[in-house]
């Protein structure tokens, strides 16, 4: 078995390719890159460490078994992972049949600063930047819009359910969600473009290197 660090040189898509060949080291590397993101998302949704860890395991087992179904033209690997994690976690939440009439996450609390060894320090630095960016975007929203958005994304509520929980007219919730999403989209739009250009430039560079 190759040492773990050998796989750090592969980008996410290359790791997926190696996983389709059943290389366990590639899965371990992908885990080191994204387990924290996946676990944080699952934990924010289900509010329970043990369940969030089970979901995290399920997500990476699914990658192990279904890597061949990944389509790079449809989503980045990290997006694919968080899609699976979110849908799985919301399914778990729904199966519990008890939907908390409160946020899974208290957005007013400062973020905890975990003292833990980093599995992938560079990845963690990038993740922290992404977090700051998105949290800054959320912080710009009026509280009632942010509340509706959080209930939709992290609790998997429909607009109708949000209206019930918040005891507001459905039309009001629709408006809040629409405005929140438009602002979020505008705020993140420019940086998305910049990121895509950077990814494309990196891909072109990698292809050239291989030639």
């Amino acid at each position: 078995m190759k040492s773990h660090t050998d796989y750090a040189k592969y980008d996410d898509e290359e790791l997926i390719g190696l996983i389709t060949q059943l290389r366990e080291e590639a899965l371990a590397q992908l885990y080191d890159r994204y387990s924290r993101l996946v676990f944080s998302l699952a934990f924010a949704i289900v509010s329970d460490r043990a369940t969030a860890e089970e979901i995290t395991l399920d997500v990476f087992m699914r990658v192990w078994q279904k890597a061949a179904s990944y389509r790079s033209d449809q989503a980045k690997v990290s997006t694919w992972l968080t899609h699976i994690a979110r849908h799985h976690a919301i399914d778990v939440l729904r199966r519990r049949a008890v939907r908390l009439d409160q946020f899974a996450v208290n957005w007013d609390d400062p973020l905890p600063n975990h003292e833990s060894p980093e599995l992938d320090p560079q990845g963690f630095a990038e993740l922290s930047q992404q977090r700051e960016r998105v949290q800054a975007a959320l912080a710009q929203l009026p509280a009632d819009q942010r509340q509706a958005l959080v209930l939709a994304y992290f609790n998997g509520y429909t607009q109708r359910e949000i209206a019930d929980v918040l005891k507001q007219p459905l039309g009001t919730i629709k408006t809040r969600l629409r405005l929140a999403m438009q602002k979020l989209r505008d705020f993140l739009h420019d940086e998305q473009d910049a990121e895509k250009k950077s990814v494309k430039a990196q891909s072109a560079y990698n292809i050239k290197e291989e030639e």
């Binding site: 290359e14 924290r36 924010a44 996450v105 607009q159 969600l177 989209r185 739009h189």
Partner: protein, 241 residues
Amino acid sequence: MSKETHVLDLLPAYALGSLDSDEARRVEEHLSSCLVCRNESNAFQTAVDQLSFAAPDAVPSSDLRDRLMQRVQASRPQPRAPVQVPARSWLERLLPVWSLASLLLVVVLAGSNLFLWQRFNDLEVATSPGGMRAVPLIAQDPTSRATGYVLISADGDSGALVVDGLPPLGENQQYQLWLIRDGQRTSGAVFSTDERSYGGTRIRAPRSLTDYSSVGITIEPTGGSPQPTGPRVLGGALFNP
């Protein structure tokens, strides 16, 4: 599509998955035929995808990685003793590798039994009674023992590739399947073979596989190339549209 029927107001909630099912269905139907709304929808979906980063940072237990790798180990099939009969071992090893290929093979075998395999030997396209086709691939180099089949569903929308006798390549190279139509080559799959020189993968194409006249497999840099650059190792004729 007229402006009145656009679903722009529903797209933010659609991207969040927060529409009721009848509204979501309406949006999906509309998106299938409206480029304007599809572009808008994609932009909202990109924004929603970013929300995963809004989850407060939390760290899983340090033993979770070991638990994952244990599950991976447990999910691996137990090694088999080598099987002596070549045709049988080919199938036996293929079946667990790749579910679609195995499904197609099971269906084809159930439908046509020996008929299909007799036709394989004649290097002709075999068609099962259900309309599924199996196209043999032939090595370019007559001394090569490489062989393979392209399996195509009756409607031409799904396809599978299985190869034998293509040796595993180094880390920097993979095999790539090309679908050929009017001299244009489109990538249908990038794949690797195992230490026994076997491999299988699903074929993905922008159009029905019945629209292509032939296929070829070349050796390319890992991840594949936009157009073939390496030597052709296998090829076969599909259809004459």
